[in-house]
């Protein structure tokens, strides 16, 4: 299917926080309580619409367990967005956020949009991390923040789509050089010709403007 833009996402966070479940909920709208440990990378994709434009999200679900994260750091390259996930019922997954963030910032482009996600919000009775703590961490590090539940699908759509909106806004503002594939954004076939017309004049309305 034709798309105006392709955004590459990467999902990161400790093992067992629900990264693969979030992806499955977003792409297939279903929840799988038992999921194999991810090794390497698993892929998902979905089309969304922002500002009337078709945007393809190419999502890279990575291994959370350190042992299986072989060459994972190279996967950060060219990501436009990252979902940094922790489990609100496990304090340690929240404590590790700083390390994940350092890792992401070190290996990705500086403009990458990062969404902090406190997952498993349906397990309120087992909560170990207050929502306010997540909000504070996000504020401190310049991240977007949401609490989600892959099980109930609460806020899952919003998490992925709001990240895309943020990326899209950065394109509109000219922050992202859409001609540089290292930014994790690719122009779809339907916009490629239009973009060529605007070569050397990227950003702002030109970047977002299409033929239709």
């Amino acid at each position: 299917m034709a798309y105006a833009y392709l955004f590459k996402y990467i999902i990161i966070g400790d093992t067992g926080v629900g990264k693969s479940c979030l992806l499955l909920q977003f792409t297939d709208k279903r929840f799988q309580p038992v999921h194999d440990l991810t090794i390497g990378v698993e892929f998902g994709a979905r089309m969304i619409t922002i500002d009337g434009k078709q945007i393809k999200l190419q999502i890279w679900d990575t291994a959370g367990q350190e042992s299986f994260r072989s060459i994972t750091r190279s996967y950060y390259r060219g990501a436009a967005g990252a979902l940094l996930v922790y489990d609100i019922t496990r304090r340690d997954t929240f404590n590790h956020l700083t390390t994940w963030l350092e890792d992401a910032r070190q290996h990705s482009n500086s403009n990458m949009v990062i969404m902090l996600i406190g997952n498993k919000s349906d397990l309120e009775s087992r909560r170990e991390v207050k929502k306010e703590e997540g909000e504070a961490f996000a504020r401190e590090h310049g991240l977007i923040f949401m609490e989600t539940s892959a099980k109930t699908a609460s806020n899952v759509e919003e998490a992925f789509i709001n990240t895309a909106k943020e990326i899209y806004e950065k394109i509109q503002e000219g922050v992202f050089d859409i001609n540089n594939e290292a930014n994790g954004i690719k122009i779809g076939p339907q916009h490629a010709a239009t973009n060529a017309t605007h070569a050397g004049n990227q950003g702002g309305q030109q970047a977002g403007g299409g033929c239709c």
Binding site: D36, L37, G40, V41, F43, E66, T99, D103
Partner: protein, 342 residues
């Protein structure tokens, strides 16, 4: 569910013209022309002709959408996922296949270190025209797995079934698609052997120092790479010696490749005269799953330690096509395989 394979192969033997060029190793082009064995501009790459190189999976991972491992060749084939019953049973409809491929995260590695898995949905009547964009089947990249976390075995040689097991105990039984010629399964058998035993040009040579492991042995933190910069430095230093050794052994390896390709041709002609024979006991050993060592713990790959040929940042070109790497070396095993299969 029974699979009804397309009547015609989806690649175009002898019609795909690909200029094999080693841009980073220009002397290889000159060497080939000098030898006159594979005139690069006149004959297609045999891997392309067999449908195992520059295929769907390769095109997808090298496409702008993924742009993965752009300088590395991909060895790939189409498989049908099956499960064990009284006989092997297809799991999905005939229009669904799995593209399985191996490649290298960096092109100068002597052996592949990445496994690619993709699902392919074929449309009817497109078998010979897949390479036209408007008619291409729908292919979706599903997983990238470091080969160090995967165990690949020949499960049933007669049925051309591989057994793929991940370190997390996910098991796939994959039957090579019937459209692939016999030689393609031979290359997978060779790959299995190479992954288990290595090649003489790999790190069995003590002069090649492995100083960097991709998976930090101390995994206290999610990132845990405090010495990353220093390790990268060491890796780049050792890659120089690797390059030198590869260059030294190039001539010998290429000789083996061409000899093997000649042998392949002989094999092809012999295959056409293939007659049904009973399996001998050694064949039974090879095809029986029980005969293949299968440990229940995760030690079969010395789990999470450095792969034999895995390095994070070696630089330099990969001089040989992956097919050639598979074809290279251990001719006695090829002879054995041919002997068993006809």
């Amino acid at each position: 569910m029974s699979s009804v394979p397309p009547s015609k192969p989806w690649w175009k033997p002898k019609t795909v013209k690909v200029k094999r060029s080693y841009s980073s190793f220009p002397f290889l082009n000159a060497w080939e022309e000098f030898r006159g064995l594979l005139p690069v501009d006149r004959e297609p790459n045999p891997g392309v002709g067999l449908g195992v190189e520059e295929g769907l999976l390769c095109q997808m991972v090298h496409s702008p959408e993924f742009n993965l491992f752009p300088d590395s060749v991909v060895f790939e084939s189409n498989f049908v996922q099956v499960k064990k019953g009284r006989n092997w049973i297809d799991i999905y409809k005939a229009s669904y296949t799995m593209a399985l491929g191996v490649t290298s995260s960096v092109p100068c590695l002597p052996l592949p270190n990445i496994l690619l898995m993709a699902s392919v949905k074929w449309r009817q009547g497109q078998s010979q025209t897949w390479n036209r964009p408007s008619m291409a089947p729908k292919i979706i990249l599903k997983r990238i797995l470091p080969l160090k976390f995967v165990e690949l075995q020949v499960c049933d040689q007669l049925q051309r079934i591989l057994r793929l097991r991940t370190v997390t105990e996910k098991i796939y039984y994959l039957r090579l698609h019937s459209d692939h010629p016999e030689i393609v399964f031979y290359f997978w058998v060779r790959l299995v052997q190479i992954l288990q035993q290595g090649l003489s040009i790999t790190t069995k040579d003590p002069r090649i120092l492995i100083t960097h492991c991709l998976v930090p042995k101390n995994s206290c933190s999610p990132s845990g790479d405090s010495q990353l910069v220093q390790e990268k430095l060491q890796a780049s230093q050792t890659s120089d010696s690797l390059m030198q050794l590869m260059a030294n052994e190039e001539s010998e390896t290429l000789s083996q490749i061409f000899a093997d390709l000649h042998q392949r041709n002989r094999f092809s002609s012999r295959s056409s005269k293939k007659t049904e024979t009973k399996k001998d006991s050694s064949e039974k050993d090879a095809s029986s799953e029980d005969s293949i060592p299968c440990t229940r713990d995760l030690s079969w790959r010395e789990s999470f330690t450095c792969g034999e040929w895995e390095r994070e940042n070696p630089s330099g070109p990969q001089p040989l096509s992956l097919l050639s790497t598979l074809a290279a070396s251990t001719r006695p095993q090829l002879t054995l395989f041919i002997g068993n299969s006809i």
